[in-house]
């Protein structure tokens, strides 16, 4: 047994190590997706199983669940050869390692007294890894080969000696080799720092004590999660939601969940979901499980972030599902599908515990890239994700312009984007009437409009929620749909695939506009206080007409 004070100290110290690794990469990364949007994560993983032991608090939540699978894939690969202190493996395989090809995982064994103590891992979203579309969100990919370069777990560093051949291969497969090189170095730095800090900790407390603490933290997470599940009434709760399309065929794709509570166990059964699709919104099973973990952690906040969380949960995800894709099914748009998985978990749980759950968030990542050449011939790629409204919740209206549930990413400032790329934003504003009506209204989405300052650029958009709006819960109404506008042949158009667009050519002075969804409402709109409706109209969050329609209010 370990005394509770030492346990608390070690919990803080271990999380601090992961947090410091996060911070090191954020500060040294070249591409704003990591540096500003924090699309990265670091942690410590079990020596044998690869299970998550400790995860940083500032990285991307979705990686919390997924990295265990990435480490497992490395363990499998490492079992075929020698493993030495100072080795670092690198790969981006999304089927074993989760997520998509843009996410490069670096995994390093950590030895203590000659024995493997645990694994340290770093994942970061690189700016460009080849494929058909700059920035790699290819909405019409039908095979992963069109999405980017594909690297299985290979040894990048052998006992401290970096293999520059691999670095050269990677650089030569990117439109942004300098950015890639900088990010890669940042991840190696983060792993170095993690190893150093962990060494200090083990030196101070002894490996035995730290190992006991790690086991106890896991047991604690499992105990807490069981207690939460026990509080939910037994029964089966179902929810369905849809993706607009897969970017290739304009057909809705169903994500269905039957969630069963039985005492302190939970079963999440996704059998009724769509089969694998032709386009890039498939996800690997590891990714699907990780997204359920994110949804549960949002509802049961205080459960520590480690593998113990999922001990009482059983998953049913058939091999024939869009949620269990195999190579080379394209998975580049995995963010859209996991957001939908999280939405159905919220909707199902709202039926079991309406007082614990919020309306759905805006539910699309809106990966927008603009790419072209500068006058001096240099290539530029601006790539960013955009925000929207969060759902109304039992306590308050939803947050205006928040980040997605899978992320803690901040949006790059306009001024940073304009300093780095030849664009000028003409609008960066809240979007009136986008929050779903409810006793507590959904938060507002945003309107972003930008103008090209160079001669020509190609525009790509990978979004969702253009046909199926973010749902409200407990009687709340859905938020507004996602919309994208561009000029073509003298008129303003929207993409035929709603929110997916490839290679639109934009000329100097032309503008594109993205309008993102708000969150779903919470509770019956008729229960909203007239005072709150009047304030919404006065501040322009809701137009007079919408207030009359949604709340039946005479707002004067």
């Amino acid at each position: 047994m370990i005394d509770p004070v030492t346990l608390a100290v070690l919990k803080g110290r271990l999380e601090q190590i992961a947090d410091e690794m996060d911070a090191t990469l954020f500060r040294t990364a070249f591409n704003p997706i990591i540096a500003e949007a924090h699309d990265a994560s670091h942690g410590l993983y079990d020596a044998v199983t690869g299970d998550t032991l400790v995860q940083g608090k500032s990285g991307l939540p979705i990686f919390v669940g997924v990295m265990a699978f990435a480490v497992r894939a490395t363990i499998e690969r490492a079992s075929h050869g020698e493993l030495a202190d100072g080795d670092v493996f690198i790969f981006n395989d999304p089927y074993d390692g989760g997520t998509h090809l843009s996410d490069f995982k670096l995994v390093r064994p950590y030895f203590h007294d000659g024995r493997l103590f645990c694994w340290l891992a770093s994942v970061g979203h690189w700016h460009d890894v080849g494929g058909n579309v700059p920035g790699n969100y290819n909405p019409v990919a039908s095979e992963s080969f069109q999405e980017g370069v594909h690297i299985p777990p290979v040894k990048l560093v052998s006992a401290g000696q970096i293999n520059n051949d691999i670095v050269d291969i990677l650089k030569c497969n990117s439109r942004q080799p300098t950015s890639l090189y900088g990010d890669l170095n940042g991840q190696i730095n983060a792993l170095d720092l993690g190893a150093k800090r962990l060494g200090e900790l083990l030196g101070e407390y002894g490996a035995e004590t730290v190992a006991v603490a790690l086991a106890e933290l896991r047991a604690m997470a499992a105990r807490l999660m069981r207690a939460h599940i026990r509080d939910l009434p037994d029964g089966t709760y179902s929810a369905e939601d849809f993706l607009d399309n897969d970017g290739i065929a304009d057909q809705p794709l169903k994500i269905a969940l039957d969630l069963t509570i039985e005492g302190d166990r939970m079963v999440m059964d996704f059998s009724r979901s769509a089969p694998p699709c032709a386009g890039p919104v498939n996800i690997a099973k590891s990714t699907a499980i990780a997204s359920c973990y994110v949804a549960l952690k949002h509802v049961f906040r205080e459960v520590p972030a480690n593998a113990g969380c999922l001990e009482p949960v059983r998953f049913v995800i058939p091999e024939s599902s869009i949620l269990a894709a195999r190579a080379p099914k394209p998975v580049g748009g995995y963010t859209e599908t996991i957001l939908r998985v999280i939405d159905v978990v919220f909707q199902a749980l709202a039926r079991a515990a309406p007082e614990r759950v919020n309306g759905c968030a805006y539910g699309t990542i809106n990966a927008l890239s603009l790419a072209g050449y500068r006058r001096d011939g240099r290539r530029w790629v601006m790539f960013s994700f955009f925000g929207g409204g969060l759902g109304g919740n039992p306590e308050s209206d939803g947050l205006n312009h928040g980040n997605a549930p899978i992320s803690t990413a901040t949006i790059p400032p306009v001024e940073i984007l304009e300093a780095a790329y030849p664009v000028m934003f003409t609008r960066w504003a809240l979007r009136p009437d986008s929050g779903g009506a409810g006793r507590h209204r959904g938060g507002l989405g945003a309107i972003y409009e930008l103008e090209l300052l160079e001669e020509q650029a190609d525009v790509f958009l990978f979004g969702e929620r253009g046909r199926f709006a973010p749902a409200g819960v407990v009687g709340g109404q859905p938020g507004a749909l996602n919309r994208f506008f561009y000029p073509q042949a003298g008129e303003i158009r929207s993409p035929p695939m709603a929110s997916k667009m490839v290679g639109l050519s934009l000329a100097r002075g032309q503008r594109v506009r993205l309008e993102t969804p708000g969150g779903g409402g919470y509770g019956d709109p008729r229960e909203r206080s007239p005072e709150a409706v009047r304030r919404d109209v006065r501040l322009g969050y809701v137009t007079r007409d919408a207030a009359r329609r949604d709340y039946g209010s005479d707002v004067g």
Binding site: A8, R27, F30, G182, A419, M424
Partner: protein
């Protein structure tokens, strides 16, 4: 008056008490006072306190003020009705933030910006990232929009244009137009506050400055006027969040820099006291009437943060001492919530009505619990305004609000109140230490504020800290910090040039300019200084990175600045921070930061050393004090007459005019050579 004014007085106005520390620069004499704060108009308590010191106002050389006026206005959202004028298309920047949310896990919570949407108006103007003016601002449009803001009740205005860090011409033109029509001086342009890239951080800092300006400026003006009316010719100086002090003129222009003024002064004093006493690693716990402020000092240095979030979305980007605040103090109100659970704080009874034992209110507080348990002397109330505390009223309030609902006797209910309050405070200490990887065994707690010494023993046991160091005058530590803090002016300017394209001569010239401005400000302040130091930092990165490394330039290299010396300084800083350099990638200079620091004479803490005395002489009596359900016969000592090296085993209570220290039966106390009391567990 023939003598030169020689009294420097530090004044820290808290929610409950106004603390004063007097230092006579001529004789070296030190004195303290504590008087009740006056809500509504703090300047009354302020002047009462100075008068209580017994020095003629004409003898004041400087009055250094740590204030919570700004902090409270932000936390309680009681700033002025403020308008924003911004670039067309960007009125919502303040509300959209950086698209963050309150916490990683959990999607609840909303954000109410300090400037509502109908007071954020746009004008057609545009500057590009390279500083080119794409559309000039139309002064008539600015005036039109200003009139709308005026009609909607705005008292102050923030002007924030996109890319104004690169070229402030449009902002300056808008400000000039505004000055023609705006009825007061409460106008803030972002390029004056923070000429730095990143529009949200700049907007938030500028808006909060405007939001605070009317409140803070009128307070300072009234204070300055009253001091002069009473005959003071001394300079009124204000402590900034960075731990340095500034003139009232600067504070009136930049009130956002006072966001953490009071707490910062306390940390400055704590660092000085602890270093002198040989405790380089301390956690300060400032317990006042309404809040508990925690800061960490490792290796003798407090941590300076480039920006702080006062509350979710309320971002202030100016250098600040890192301080964590929770709502737990002597005035924290205890009660039973709807779920039947005992709650203590964050609501505070403040100084009016104050704790039940003050005789005005009937809701029990932490102070009432301490009184009922015998830890505070009812006949010697701190602060001196009341003759005695009403123990019967405290008992009645505790019985009614906590004892009867929980079926506890008065003593058990009082101990339960303290247990909850202590666990809140222990949590705040863990947050800054354990959760950031610092081992509490290596740290000592420095409690201050009037009530800190009552809780220090419980806190070191709860968190596992090595010891507690109770300073000589715990109740007036922030006031002491005011007296010893240096003058400091921070400047920041976005450069955003590749090192290879940088005009190093021009950079050197602008450093010299800023340094000269700083020296002029220091000279104008009329404050006695021992010397002036300049700290110069460039925020630099490899081109392509968005985050930067603070690269300090040694003062002697600044005069002969070269591209090579800047590169070498960056590479050294980068290697120190991240281990490896990146070959073949160009370097960029993003921001220039200059701090001009006027060193003020340090008072000699050895002057606090007690002279002579004996333990027996210091004992003033005995009383029953409750601890863990039992009454203990407890010796009471006059803290200030305890001799050096005296060892006092618990149970014991040390009393002094501004604070009380409780040494429970499991602790032992010792007086060090500076009059500090060190508490440790009995071995």
């Amino acid at each position: 008056m023939t003598t030169k004014p020689s009294i420097v007085v530090g004044v820290d106005v808290g929610g409950t008490f106004t603390d004063l520390f007097f230092y006579d620069e001529a004789s070296g004499a030190l004195a303290t006072r504590k008087v009740p704060s006056t809500r509504g108009d703090q300047s009354i308590g302020f002047l009462d306190g100075i008068a209580a010191g017994g020095h003629p106002f004409a003898n004041l050389a400087a009055i250094v003020h740590g204030t919570t006026v700004g902090t409270n206005a932000l936390l309680e959202r009681k700033g002025a009705r403020t308008g924003i004028i911004t670039t067309s298309g960007f009125a919502d920047v303040l509300e959209m933030r950086r698209r963050d949310r309150r916490q990683t896990w959990g999607l609840w919570g909303e954000f109410i910006p300090v400037v509502p949407r109908d007071l954020r108006l746009e004008v057609a103007e545009r500057t590009l990232a390279d500083g080119t003016i794409r559309a000039a601002v139309d002064p008539d449009e600015v005036k039109r929009v200003a009139r709308m803001l005026r009609e909607r009740g705005a008292e102050s205005v923030a002007v924030v244009f996109i890319n104004s860090y690169a070229n402030a011409a449009n902002e300056r033109a808008a400000l000039a137009a505004l000055r023609e029509v705006w009825p007061n001086d409460y106008l803030t342009a972002s390029s004056e506050i923070l000429p730095e890239i990143r529009e949200f951080e700049r907007t938030s800092t500028t808006a909060l400055n405007a939001y605070l300006q009317p409140v803070v400026a009128s307070y300072f003006a009234a204070l300055d006027k009253r001091l002069r009316e009473r005959g003071s010719k001394g300079q009124l100086l204000i402590v900034q969040s960075n731990g340095g002090v500034m003139s009232v003129a600067t504070a009136t222009r930049l009130p956002v820099r006072t966001a953490l003024s009071g707490p910062a002064a306390g940390v400055i004093a704590a660092a000085h006291i602890a270093n002198t006493a040989g405790f380089p690693n301390i956690i300060t716990g400032d317990m006042g009437g309404t809040s508990f402020d925690v800061a960490l000092i490792a290796g003798g240095r407090s941590v300076l943060a480039a920006q702080t979030t006062i509350d979710f979305g309320l971002v202030v980007r100016t250098p600040m001492i890192e301080i964590t605040t929770i709502g737990a103090g002597g005035g924290s109100v205890a009660g039973i919530d709807r779920g039947g659970l005992l709650q203590v704080g964050p609501e505070s009874a403040g100084s009016d009505p104050g704790p039940a034992c003050y005789g005005k209110g009937d809701r029990p507080t932490v102070t009432d619990a301490n009184l009922v348990l015998g830890r505070i002397n009812a006949d010697r109330p701190i602060g001196g305004k009341l003759q005695r505390l009403d123990a019967a009223a405290a008992k009645a309030a505790i019985d009614a609000a906590v004892g009867r609902p929980l079926k506890l006797d008065t003593y058990a209910a009082a101990e339960a109140i303290l247990r909850i309050a202590n666990s809140h405070m222990a949590g705040a200490i863990r947050l800054v230490s354990i959760e950031r990887g610092h081992d509490p065994k290596r740290f000592s707690l420095m409690p201050f504020g009037g009530a800190g010494g009552l809780h220090a023993g419980s806190l070191i046991k709860a968190v596992g800290l090595a010891s507690a160091l109770v300073p000589r005058f715990p109740g007036v530590t922030s006031a002491l910090g005011c007296v010893i803090a240096d003058m400091r002016h921070d400047y920041v300017h976005t450069v955003n040039r590749a090192l290879d394209d940088l005009d190093v001569g021009a950079l050197g010239a602008s450093i010299a300019d800023v340094e000269r401005d700083g020296r002029v400000l220091l000279g104008d302040s009329g404050v006695a200084l021992e010397g002036i130091e300049t700290e110069i930092e460039l925020d630099m990165s490899y081109i392509g990175q968005t985050h930067t490394v603070a690269t300090s330039l040694p003062a002697d290299t600044v005069r002969n600045l070269t591209g090579l010396s800047i590169r070498q300084a960056f590479e050294a800083a980068y290697r120190r921070a991240f281990g490896r350099l990146l070959e073949g990638i160009a370097i960029r200079v993003l921001t220039l930061r200059v701090a001009v620091i006027g060193k003020r004479p340090k008072l000699d803490l050895a002057r606090l050393r007690p002279a002579g005395g004996s333990l027996a002489e210091a004992q003033t009596g005995e009383r029953q004090v409750w601890f863990e359900g039992q009454p203990h016969t407890t010796r009471i000592y006059d803290r200030l007459t305890l001799p050096v090296a005296a060892e006092i085993p618990g149970p014991a209570i040390l009393e002094q005019p501004d604070a009380t220290t409780w040494i429970d039966p499991e602790l032992v106390a010792q007086v060090d050579g500076f009059g500090n009391v060190i508490l440790r567990r009995k071995s």
